[in-house]
Subunit: 343 residues, 2 copies
């Protein structure tokens, strides 16, 4: 059975949401959770909820990295920080994957100091799902995967090629989409468009028979969902992903404005309510299980700092599915094949 290490301390709302998420997962009796953090706080939260002690354990530490801290300094100063303790549990084989809602930079650095990189991976990727018009895979999933969205700001051709393979493996195993359409994000569809790194990555991915590479996509293709896996550097991916967040918020603002402005608009919005709820669930995708860090020999899922217990529970489930489907080994094998072919 898979065991997930959960850093309970880093999120915006303290240990309580993490403890409630772990408690709920324990009652499903499919995966065990090791909750890492301040034992007093964790036990106090556990007293207020039902859980199965056979599937939930605690590893105590009283050090924690705060959201605003500089990752490097914080980890140097706090060798027993909950994120480092969690990562070591995984590296030592006492857990199989790691979940945290804490400081993103410190989390990635803690993994980098504790896990091994997959063969051929020089840089890791933070991946994120975003909603599209199109459905895909056996889950009939409206979400596409984008990577990198902020771990590696400037990606060379080798890095983009590795991201393409890691993203394809993730979509195949987690989104149950066995042959995902993989694309490079660029400023035009033609193979010669984009930076030299993109042009070179395009050439190599187009020649790669292990991948369903559909070429370059443009910004206009992202909401349409023309690709299932969108490969880009962390700077562009970060701007694009945050823009999608901003647009969701703008749509909500516009609807509020319409509701206040005119009675006839208020009635119109009332009649559309069922559709708006569907749309809101779709655009509220940040609650869908967190963002995986890909490129290490173990999976780390970064949940949003504002995550509630449902969001953290989803992140634990995604981590569980990744362990059950042997995601990291699959990624390593795909990368070895791709790099072997390239030699």
């Amino acid at each position: 059975m898979a065991t997930i290490a959960l850093d309970a301390m880093g999120g915006d709302h303290g240990a309580a949401p993490a403890v409630r998420a772990a408690a709920r997962i324990s009652l499903e009796r499919k995966a065990a959770v090791v909750v890492v953090g301040d034992q007093h706080q964790i036990e106090s939260a556990l007293r207020r909820t039902r859980y199965d002690a056979a599937f939930l354990s605690i590893v105590h530490t009283d050090q924690v990295v705060d959201m605003a801290e500089s990752p490097r300094k914080a980890l140097d100063a706090k060798p027993e920080a909950s994120i480092l303790v969690g990562a070591r549990l995984v590296a030592d084989g006492r857990a199989d994957a790691l979940v945290s809602a804490g400081n993103t930079g410190a989390s990635i650095l803690a993994c980098a100091r504790t896990f091994e990189r997959l063969p051929g991976v020089n840089r890791t990727a933070l991946a994120a799902v975003y909603p599209t018009e199109r459905r895909r895979g056996s889950n009939d999933d409206p979400f596409a995967l984008m990577l990198d969205v902020g771990a590696t700001l400037d990606a060379d051709a080798d890095t983009l090629v590795a991201f393409a393979h890691m993203g394809a493996a993730y979509a195949a195993r987690i989104s149950k989409n066995p042959r995902p359409r993989v694309a490079l994000l660029s400023n035009g569809e033609e193979p010669f468009k984009g930076s030299p790194a993109i042009v070179e990555a395009h050439r190599r991915l187009a020649a790669d028979t292990h991948l369903n590479f559909v070429g370059n996509v443009e910004g206009v293709d992202l909401p349409r969902g023309k690709a299932d896996v969108v490969v880009t550097d962390g700077f562009t991916g970060n701007v694009v992903l945050k823009m999608l967040e901003g647009i969701s918020e703008t749509v909500v603002d516009l609807a509020r404005y319409a509701y206040r402005s005119k009675l006839v608009w208020r009635i119109g919005l009332g009649l559309l309510r069922g559709g708006i709820v569907q749309l809101k669930q779709l655009t509220d995708w940040k609650q869908y299980g967190g963002a995986p860090i890909l490129g290490f020999d173990h999976l780390f899922i970064k949940a949003h700092g504002r995550s509630n217990d449902r969001a953290l529970g989803n992140a634990i489930k995604v981590a569980h599915r990744a362990v059950e489907s042997d995601l990291c080994r699959e990624m390593g094998e795909r990368l070895a094949t791709a790099l072997g072919d390239a030699d």
Copy 2:
């Protein structure tokens, strides 16, 4: 009186929309238009519309660059291409600004071969407006300006600083926003976020007292309209702008889906019609006067290839306003001051 050179040949719909736009502007008797292109086609279109011959003249050429042509090859092979003839009219002082709906790359290259660069400008920028939640300037304008959106894929710090000043001058003169908020697009608000070029440009812009620099903005701030002028490299700007187009189209698709799906949703959308029309006008911003190329001693406005006569008329009006407000001289003076201060 200002004279605008209008390349009538490059757009998707032939000479007719350009001729109708020029005819309508001529009747307003505020600016003169020189229509460049095939005399036979232009006269044929003029016979079907009213115009004032005192404000409309024709310069004939039978060469034209097609949309799909390679810019460099096309301009080398066609020294009398309408876009080159139009640019020469401006460089020779027979017209004051240039408008075209033709091949973007060929248009920029024609300007580069014919116009002078402003002092200190190594690379030019294609600027574009996009709709935001916020209103600004004496026009109560919902549009923010972004540059570059595709002319200069990789921008160094010098280039980003020059873009900031050119964008600020454009917003002041064209959008009548005398002290526009200027920002760098990055992956975080902190001054140390982004590529080395962005970090260095941030340092220099923050020290520049001639500019209302508000720091870095993130993707989430773009639809909110936190900045009036967003400065970025052409790759990121191109991806972002095209994504906004894609999202407009997705919203239209969703509304169509709702309309077809349920009677109650159809009625709801009917009651919201007034608001939807307002929203559609806002998101249909490609019709709003085209994208200026900034960095030359004369203004060129690139209208969308699909432009109708109204869109081309708006582009001519923007060009006219730029000439009347002496935009290019203002940009040159701002750049000279900024560069002088930096020494």
